[in-house]
């Protein structure tokens, strides 16, 4: 199960936070844990370079894209490799929507479409779509090209 997808800006403010099956009282803990993890490790990291950590039986894969840090948390079948697949889809979709690694402003400008992309990629904790071109079409309600 994918437990969380979280986007934060360069100073650790949350831009998007989506939790799946995580009780409300634990979310704050996760949010601060992830933001601290990013603050400790993401300095000087190149765009899309993946970092990985595990916390108890939960895996975290995170990266930087432009001004935005992206965290994906999962457990069980969503281990570090599956999560790297998920984060790869997310970063490609965000780049596609923004046209480049986004600044915070650009990210917020495209906020609605990014939310739609996330909705196509992760559906209540399960990976649903993995190809950015298909996602690009689907958020405009266009059928996939290969069909």
């Amino acid at each position: 199960m994918i437990l969380a997808v979280l986007f934060a800006n360069s100073v650790g403010n949350i831009l998007v936070e989506r939790f799946f099956g995580v009780p409300a009282e634990e979310r704050l803990h996760w949010r601060s844990f992830l933001v601290k993890l990013g603050a400790d490790n993401l300095k000087g990291v190149k765009n899309e370079e993946l970092l990985v950590a595990c916390h108890k039986s939960v895996y975290i894969v995170y990266t930087v894209l432009g001004d935005v840090s992206i965290f994906v948390v999962g457990k069980d079948e969503y281990d570090e490799l599956a999560l790297s697949e998920v984060i790869f889809v997310i970063t490609s979709a965000v780049k596609d929507v923004c046209g480049k690694p986004p600044t915070e402003r650009l990210f917020l400008d495209k906020y609605g479409r990014i939310c739609l992309c996330l909705d196509e990629i992760v559906w209540t904790g399960l990976l649903e779509n993995t190809e950015k071109d298909r996602i690009k079409r689907m958020i405009r309600l266009k059928p996939p090209t290969e069909f």
Binding site: I14, R27, D40, D119
Partner: protein, 887 residues
Amino acid sequence: MAQPLVKKDDDLDDEAEYSPFLGIEKGAVLQDARVFNDPQLDPRRCSQVITKLLYLLNQGETFTKVEATEVFFAVTKLFQSRDLGLRRMVYLMIKEISPSADEVIIVTSSLMKDMNSKTDMYRANAIRVLCRITDGTLLTQIERYLKQAIVDKNPVVASAALVSGIHLLQTNPEIVKRWSNEVQEAVQSRAALVQFHALALLHQIRQNDRLAVSKLVTTLTKGSVRSPLAQCLLIRYTNQVICESTGNAQTGERPFYDYLESCLRHKSEMVIFEAARAITELNGVTSRELTPAITVLQLFLSSSKPVLRFAAVRTLNKVAMTHPMAVTNCNIDMESLISDQNRSIATLAITTLLKTGNESSVDRLMKQITNFMSDIADEFKIVVVEAIRSLCLKFPLKYRALMNFLSNILREEGGFEYKKAIVDSVVILIRDIPDAKESGLLHLCEFIEDCEFTYLSTQILHFLGIEGPKTSDPSKYIRYIYNRVHLENSTVRASAVSTLAKFGAAVESLKPRIFVLLRRCLFDSDDEVRDRATLYLNMLGADGTIVETGEDANGFLFGSLDIPLVNLETSLKNYVPSDEPFDISSVPREVKVQSLAEKKASSKKPSGLDAPPAGPTATVNAYERILSSISEFSSFGKLFKSSAPVELTEAGTEYAVNVVKHIFDRHLVFQYNCTNTIQEQLLENITVIADSSEAEDFAEVASKPLRSLPYDSPGQTFLAFEKPEGVPAVGKFSNVLRFIVKEVDPSTGEAEDDGVEDEYQLEDLEVVTGDYMQKVGVSNFRNAWEHMDPDSERVDEYGLGPRESLVEAVNAVINLLGMQPCEGTEVVPSNSRSHTCLLSGVFIGNVRVLVRLSFGIDGQKEVAMKLGVRSDDESISDAIHEIVASG
């Protein structure tokens, strides 16, 4: 007024001001949402408002019930618009609000219409929304459409239905299970993602049917699974099937191993890794099976992708716990990971190396770790410290380098948990490696000179008080201890006073000087410190009345409080202040054994200072206390050994009974620990009747029944036997539990007055020669062996017959002899065909025994063993051979 023109690039710092959501307020956005009600909808404007609503929700903002209902009703109006972008937003918004059951009806018809629409994408999205908000009744109405959708030509529609199915399986399993045929068809789909989702759903539907899962795996492993994600799932399911099957006993072949092995050559790294991990997790994996998996993991260690490096080193770390030798080939690659930017990877690499490294690589490894420690977080440092502790216990000769490392990191900055981990490690090393004692104590002394944690200072002072006086020059520790009296807070000062007193009591030559120091403490500002100083001065005879420290003083200073703290606490709470002083002898001494629930909750993590002395010794002390409090056993002398508890009942039966065998020189005591697991019963007058007809050397001399055994509150009953002095007598006892059972009224908890006598058959219990052997290790086996008389050596060879593996044979002999394995020789490398194991122990009568075992296994799994024994007494060397010959 005209604004001065500012070049945009110069103003990058103010970029936050450009944020489209700057100053966003929930109230204002909810107000904006009224545009959804306009007769002439503006799709662009509506999309903007929905984006703002999503932004609020994604920031963790919540809507009240009324607000959510209002937004939901307004959003449903947007179904009138034909704008595709807006419709997509509407679907997302409805899912985010998740309307309540009574509101869902408003959108059901619109969504049902979309679900049957000719536009595929409407269908896919409507399915997802409906499944998110639906309940059981609505589901039966739309089931027909969902089944069609699963086999829809459009992969997006099929995936939407399948993923919805995975979610619905949690809430409406009966309905989803009816879709089996369609899902089965979808597994054959040409679309990769559909296959992935279908496989996941099909497995979940059938997960409780072993045969069906096995069939599914058999079919799919032969065919072609397109998606790497689906392939990974299949590997996991295959692994599960392998674990549940027994394999082909004759050929030794494992079903599906070839499939896993072929996946190691897949083009997707994810699949390769999954297969490698699956192989490493196989039960009783052989080195032949393991080799190809380790090879690919080794390649991943030098991958440019951090995730792959992490995954590989994490898996190898696990393998190192069971098959350290299999991982040694990867050591060089792993050493280069110590400098990995990703600290999680570096830590895993270090801890793996510490597990697989040999004695000669310790120094090199320590050098690398020293550079690495400064830039990792405390949580990682703790992992490293724990790994170093185990390494030091494995290679005691290397204690100097490892102890130096620990003392260096002790001086550096760090939080409480980290410092505690280091101090615990130093304490454990001092206890287990005698040579390390003096240097270890000095490191601890230096640490308390500048320690900011009161807890650690007091614990170290306590430990110093016990170990310091036994060293060659106890006086050198006094300075560090007395400094505490000047420089620390009152808690530490009080501890320091107690420690000083212990030195005074134990070392006669230091006594006069200790008196001088203790007298100075009489003027301390804290009353506890003054009280302790006064008490100790009187007790040690500072007024000149007593010249030598008496038994009482030693018992008071060094003896443990022989009353359970819980009992003392309860008694103190119940004590009502009066003219009569509190009498400590009135506190009950009976140890309340952990209840069932507590037992389950307690962890087995070894600790240093928390429970001094560590593990088994503490248990032995507790046993000694219990036995000495029973008058019938008080004349038995010193307890030689207590065995680990042996279960006499199966798990889950009405009464749980285990027994601990206590060995004395001329006696044997069985301590039966009984637990009553039936809430409606109270047991009374519980005894165990042991038939010793197959244990002729033993004669029953005493029995201590248990008066009462209420539900889930364990109690003990004892039986004592006499046996020939110093002789390792053996025999078999059959046991019956006899008691009076009384019914308990569950509502009031009161038992009936009348009870019925009853019996309960327990398992038989054996006393074996191994029970007379204490596990006592030596730090340097070779030295100890050479210092023993070669004439006492007895060597012979034995055939152990066919065995499952070398590991099994080695463990069987270690358990049979009941001795302590030395220098980590109990770990058998996975691929080896021969192995040497070193054991040490003390046999009853205080006879030291050392054993050298050499094993060899041939192609038919026949194990041969050479046994060499040296001991203080030749007859014991012969006795050890007899144990093996008869075992």
